[in-house]
């Protein structure tokens, strides 16, 4: 029996496709890869925060592969390990990812102050850089004592002093803060206590009264804290919360009649996760940010085109939100560190040591941000051995009820005071651990 012509054609086409596909697959398979280990969380009490951050992180990695074919021909691969924001699971994930490939996991973003502390001493031994963008140990900004830890952009104390400066501007100048009353409503944990020394120093310097009120974990009931606030009658409330504590604080502020226009959150208390859960109670609330929200940036348009357009994206509803943009920025810094390291060590997969050098020598100025499509979403970053942050600035947004509206320019807090306190704290740590502060170099 003769084979019909269309069947023969179909077989020939399938054969040709198999050859072409095979060649293409081989080409991709033979391409060198840079493995990135991700200790993420998408379930559990902070799953919503993690889903947005790590969604943006992975979308950016996908963009680099889809649009650019990787970093100088080195494709990015990754594996996400679920920590549930739990320190023990975070350490397990770190241990699992660190030996996954010979070059290591590139750099780890723990996205948790607790996990950061848990793996802080392991990182130098394993030669794995930790990028702790806006969290973790504040004094790790001093790279002479913490060569493997990078609180990129800004640290907690930059955030706290930035908030005080923002409030001072709203009051008409720093001198106007004298005699004012501020409340620091904080999550009763290591994270929540981090700004206390710097807030106390600011109160002493500027002459305002400071009352610090802890909220026990998880913070889903704050009646007594807000009644104390109502009795104290502060001029401003600084919210240093995380997760359900933020929405509950906004709701309870409404319940006790405290104006949301007099509340300023830190950058972990200022995302859509917090304000949407609080509903109308969040309208007027200010919060600091590390990366501006919104989709109006070329890099976001590229992700929508190259990643979501090719059905490789995550949750499209999260695109452009505060934490998604922050996650995307975190991925960009990781990729740029690899690129920087490649300039020195060659266009091949980089090891942890090489990436560490790359992070320590980042210079992403306004021009580079523009060429990367981030424009003004982020401040320029220039790191060094002594400054593992590289920016030290913060910006403020106000929730309109439906979206975040920019409420300030990028601004410094008291950088001189923060630097002095960072060095003092890092020196104390160095003494405790027997570390001789020094720059690592290459």
């Amino acid at each position: 029996m003769k084979t019909p012509w269309f069947q023969r054609s179909l077989a020939a086409a399938a054969f040709a496709l198999a050859i072409v596909g095979g060649v293409a697959t081989d080409a991709v398979a033979q391409q060198p890869t840079q493995f990135i280990g991700i200790t993420g969380y998408r379930v559990g009490p902070y799953g919503a925060n993690g889903a947005a951050f790590f969604g943006g992180f992975i979308d950016y990695l996908n963009l680099v592969n889809e649009r650019d074919g990787g970093v100088n021909g080195v494709r990015l691969t990754w594996e996400e390990c679920e920590t549930e924001y739990n320190n023990t699971k975070g350490v397990e994930c770190y241990e699992r990812l660190k030996t996954k490939v010979a070059t290591g996991p590139t750099a780890i973003h723990p996205m948790s102050t607790g996990i950061t502390y848990a793996i802080l001493d392991k990182a130098p031994v394993d030669k794995i850089p930790l990028i702790t963008m806006g969290y973790g140990r504040t004094d790790a900004t001093d790279g002479r004592v913490f060569p493997w830890v990078f609180p990129l952009l800004s640290n907690y104390w930059d955030n706290a002093t930035g908030i005080v400066k923002f409030i001072a501007e709203k009051e008409g100048g720093e001198d106007k803060l004298k005699g004012k009353k501020l409340v620091l409503l904080y999550h009763d944990s290591a994270y929540g206590k981090e700004p206390q020394p710097v807030m106390e120093a600011e109160a002493k310097k500027l002459g305002f009264e400071l009352k610090m009120i802890p909220v026990p974990h998880p913070g889903n009931e704050q009646q007594s804290q807000w009644l104390q606030i109502r009795q104290y009658k502060p001029d401003w409330v600084v919210l240093w919360g995380w997760g359900v504590m933020n929405a509950t604080a906004l709701q309870t502020a409404q319940k006790t009649g405290f104006p949301r226009e007099k509340m300023v959150g830190n950058w972990w208390a200022g995302s859509e996760v917090d304000t949407q859960a609080a509903g109308p109670a969040a309208t007027g609330y200010y919060a600091a940010t590390l990366a501006l929200a919104g989709k109006n940036y070329p890099v976001v348009a590229d992700i929508e085109k190259f990643v979501y357009g090719r059905s490789k994206g995550g949750d499209a509803k999260l695109v452009g939100t505060v934490l998604w943009n922050r996650g995307m920025a975190a991925a960009m810094f990781t990729v740029e560190a690899v690129r920087k390291a490649q300039e020195k060590y060659g266009k091949k997969p980089m090891t942890g040591e090489q990436v560490r050098w790359g992070i320590e020598n980042l210079d992403i100025n306004a021009g580079r941000l523009k060429s990367l499509g981030f424009n003004t979403m982020l401040p320029p970053v220039k790191t060094s051995c002594t400054d593992h942050g590289g920016a030290g600035v913060v910006r403020f947004q106000q929730w309109t009820g439906t979206e975040w509206k920019i409420a300030s320019d990028w601004m410094n807090g008291d950088r001189a005071m923060v630097r002095r306190m960072v060095e003092e704290s890092a020196a104390k740590y160095a003494t405790e651990k027997g570390i001789k502060p020094a720059c690592m170099g290459s």
């Binding site: 889903a51 802890p214 974990h217 998880p218 007594s224 009644l227 009649g257």
Partner: protein, 298 residues
């Protein structure tokens, strides 16, 4: 004085919110003698299903409520079939362990089906002070908390009538007392368990809606179960009235302690103060305020 009254009233109303969650525990305990570790997960699942259905099909509140209630009844029946039926006549600790597994399963399924995004739940009731009370007495009383207290009151009345005046209610109490004896006198254990888990699902739905409207529907709703534990210890595991009275005492005590004692020890004590109070109470009255005193023959 007005500040003290504010703290006290706020605490009492917060306590009612704890009682709502505690009621679910009491129901299961009354019918099976088991502490249902999954009650917090059920509160989370119910609220998430409610908002998920509402969002997916733009349903009105009442329809979303009815459909979610249907889902919770389904969960109750499935729990009886899959988890409890194979464990009839097993030691209480086995049933307790099963509910721990159930809690993790429900939490996982809830997030798998509806995702982890936080959802706003609008019941059309703002959490604001009642202006008339504020103007007249300079006292802060929340509208939302007051409505929650009324809902809890209604729920307690209905449940008390159900348990004490209906045949099913009496059967529930018999089952709780002794599985085998209840079976021997012809009480259909399987149906009774399915009913009580469904009613617990209903209570979880009501608690989930009120807590979700307050804090947003998110995983942290599972933690409200932690607030119910001291309430149960104090009120008694088997008493609906105990859940309410225990809630009021715990709510008021923890708020007063936080405000008046907290300042001397750096604050943040309400998280553990309720447990400390409950433990102290255990020493004096181990069965709780309204719990049944068990005397075993040896």
């Amino acid at each position: 004085m007005s500040f003290f009254l504010e703290v006290l009233i706020g605490g009492l109303l917060a306590g009612v919110m704890y009682s709502l969650v505690a009621l679910g525990f009491v129901l299961i305990y009354k019918a099976s003698g088991v502490f249902n570790f999954a009650q917090g997960a059920m509160v989370f699942f119910a609220a998430l299903t409610f908002t998920g259905l509402q969002e997916a099909w733009q349903l009105p509140l009442w329809l979303a409520f009815v459909l979610t209630l249907g889902v919770m009844v389904g969960v109750g029946i499935a729990t009886e079939r899959v988890v409890l039926r194979p464990l009839v006549n097993q030691p209480q600790i086995t049933l307790f362990m099963a509910t721990i597994g159930l809690a993790f399963f429900i939490e996982g399924v809830a997030q798998l089906v509806w995702g982890t995004n936080i959802r706003r739940l609008d019941l059309g009731l703002q959490d604001e002070p009642i202006e008339a009370v504020m103007e007249r007495f300079n006292l802060l009383v929340s509208k939302f908390d007051l409505v929650a207290a009324l809902v809890a009151g209604a729920l307690v009345t209905v449940l008390a009538v159900f348990f004490n005046k209906t045949r099913i209610g009496r059967a529930l109490r018999a089952v709780a007392d002794d599985h085998q004896a209840a079976l021997a006198v012809g009480i259909p254990l399987k149906q009774i368990w399915a009913i009580v888990w469904s009613v617990a699902g209903f209570v979880a739905l009501v608690a989930g809606l009120l807590w979700g409207a307050r804090n947003g529907v998110q995983f942290a709703l599972t933690f409200v179960a932690l607030k119910a534990l001291p309430v149960l210890i104090l009120g008694g595991f088997e008493s609906i009235l105990g859940a309410i009275v225990g809630g009021l005492i715990i709510g008021a005590a923890e708020k007063l302690a936080e405000v008046y004692l907290g300042q001397y020890v750096g604050g943040g004590i309400e998280g553990w103060f309720a447990y400390a109070l409950a433990l102290l109470f255990l020493l004096i009255r181990p069965e709780g305020l309204f719990g049944e005193r068990h005397i075993d023959r040896v």
